[in-house]
């Protein structure tokens, strides 16, 4: 696995069709690659470059800027503990250290069984629910050390598999625009003044 599977190639083509310029699809396609393989492989980046019509180096240039894209395998579950100001004030650092002890790894590390990767992250927009963490970008609020332990036990035993997909799968619902409902891309150099603007200007006697 590395290049897009047939099914994912179909999804990739649909994503590409929604943008006036193909390079705009780059980040969504990198997510798709990560969903397929759990991380972004070199082969996937090469395939994306072919689909968009840019070089693999350009794909890597974008990929390497964004924290969510992992270019090496990570755990099935990515545990992101927020330690930014609101969480720090209410025990975010202590929660992180508890999980480091519990999992036997430092932040940034992966457990030997490949089950967990632990990260010390910046604000994840749940400041009133501090301290908070995410597992594969699913939130857990006001987490006590005991709750963190129970969560780890549950994840190891597969008891949360129905609500938390493995790392790489971001949204389980995809946008789909039906062909008969599509307005179409507004392409620079091709798109003209929208009809509703022209019509309104005409009825206002050219005003506006």
């Amino acid at each position: 696995m590395a290049r897009f599977s047939e099914a994912n190639l179909k999804t990739a083509t649909e994503i590409l069709s929604r943008y006036p310029r193909p390079k705009s699809a780059l980040i969504p396609l990198l997510h798709l690659a990560q969903e397929q393989d759990g991380y972004v492989t070199e082969e996937a980046m090469e395939h994306i470059a072919e689909l968009i019509g840019i070089t693999p180096a350009e794909v890597l240039g974008t990929c390497s800027f964004y924290e969510m894209f992992k270019r090496e395998p990570v755990g099935t579950y990515l545990v992101n503990v927020c330690t930014n100001i609101s969480c720090m004030l209410l025990g975010g650092e202590e929660l992180l250290h508890h999980l480091e002890e519990r999992l036997g790894i430092k932040a940034g590390g992966t457990t030997p069984d490949g089950m967990f990767t632990l990260e010390d992250v910046e604000c994840i927009a749940a400041c009133t629910e501090a301290p908070c963490l995410q597992v594969n970008y699913r939130y857990h609020y006001k987490v006590t050390p005991e709750q963190a332990d129970a969560l780890i036990d549950d994840l190891r035993a597969g008891r949360r598999a129905h609500e938390i997909p493995r790392h790489g799968t971001l949204a389980r619902v995809r946008q789909h625009i039906p062909a008969d409902r599509r307005a179409g891309n507004a392409v620079p150099g091709e798109a003209e003044e929208p009809v509703w603007i022209t019509r309104a200007a005409a009825s206002e006697g050219g005003a506006g």
């Binding site: 004030l89 927009a125 619902v173 507004a186």
Partner: protein, 455 residues
Amino acid sequence: MAVTDAAPIITTRFGLDDGHTLERYLATGGYEGLKAALAKSPTAVHEEVKAASLLGRGGAGFPAGVKWGFCPPGVWPRYLVVNGDESEPGTYKDRLLMERDPHQLIEGVLIACYAIGAAQAFLYVRGEMALAQERIAQALNDAYEAGYVGRNILGSDFSVDIVLHWGAGAYIVGEETALIESLEGNRGMPRLKPPYFPAAKGLYMQPTIVNNVETLSNLPWILSHGGTSFAELGAEASRGTRLFAVSGHVKNPGVYEVEFGVTTFRDLIYAPVYGGGIRDGNELKAFIPGGASAPWFYEEHLDLPLESGAVGAAGSMLGSGAVVVMDHTTDAVKAAWRVVRFFARESCGKCTPCREGTTWLERILRRIVDGHGRPEDIGLLLDVCDNISPGIDWPPKQTTICPLGPSAVSPIASAVVRFKDEFIAACGGTGEVPVPINGAAYTPAPDSSSEVTGV
């Protein structure tokens, strides 16, 4: 107390389990604002939004109606880009709006597109927000199916596609030109303004309006109730209601929709219906009034109204509606370090003062927090601050393309000026510390015996 009984505008469906579904949205007045907009001319819709005096809710607080007017005439296509990349520390409101009322946002996007003549919209949602993405994807799929989005909306000649786009983890992408770079598939590095003001040269160098999620979520109400009704709420330049996230050491941390411009910080932090006061009967030490970039406020600022002008005049900003409360147990040096670490990690690396400056600030502060501070470290910190933002003034002077680097200066200047003794103690020093700060810009302790001098 000015806890007003103004009815909520954008959180009306937050209490409903199914507030995110099209069925519930339609049953609770959904898409009526769009219908009202389509019955008017685009110009009239624009006028309605101007009449509402709706300030942008993303951080800069620029009037949305004025921003829309910056598109150069006759240049097509135009785009609308929705900034759903909420990641300013302490800020928590756009994610709620996307998760709990996605159709309200979609309706707002449609109204804006109709008014400005945008033939395509891109809804940029922060990558880490999986549920928001799922809810918006489902809402868009349902809205397309039902004829609210896409070709010939509600049988009219108004057609627009709304494309859901995902981010991938980068705070800087919340800056509008960086967001556009990211949407073009590039590294999220800001563009120089001028010439790249998005309204003139934005996505694909076309006129582009970038609006925040909360800003757009107000539009359905404004169109169905009228811009003047919206402007009747609030005071001075700050009209309508606004979401504030109150976090940190309060009894009831929460996201509250309050009447803008009238409610005070004291209400927000102490009123039983909001923050409920400081936890455990503790004393207030400081609070951040508008996200990590904002200079800190203290006891004497509590009676300021949540009003952009008043907060600006007092030396800070309302920013993104993030109020972070610190009680007397808080280590001011450590709090400053943690905020600065954020900026150091999130610097995109394009401009030297930010890339190098924030990194060194973080290292020096980390040294102090770890107990290895040196007496000269305070002067060193401020010297680096002065290099990033000359004069250490507020609003900060800029040496960089975007405000990220200069933003890292404000928590340090705030903490050093106010809690100088803590810094001196942490650095193992004694006596006076040279503080090359514009004294008017930051608030010293009321009993401070030493002068804070200019550079």
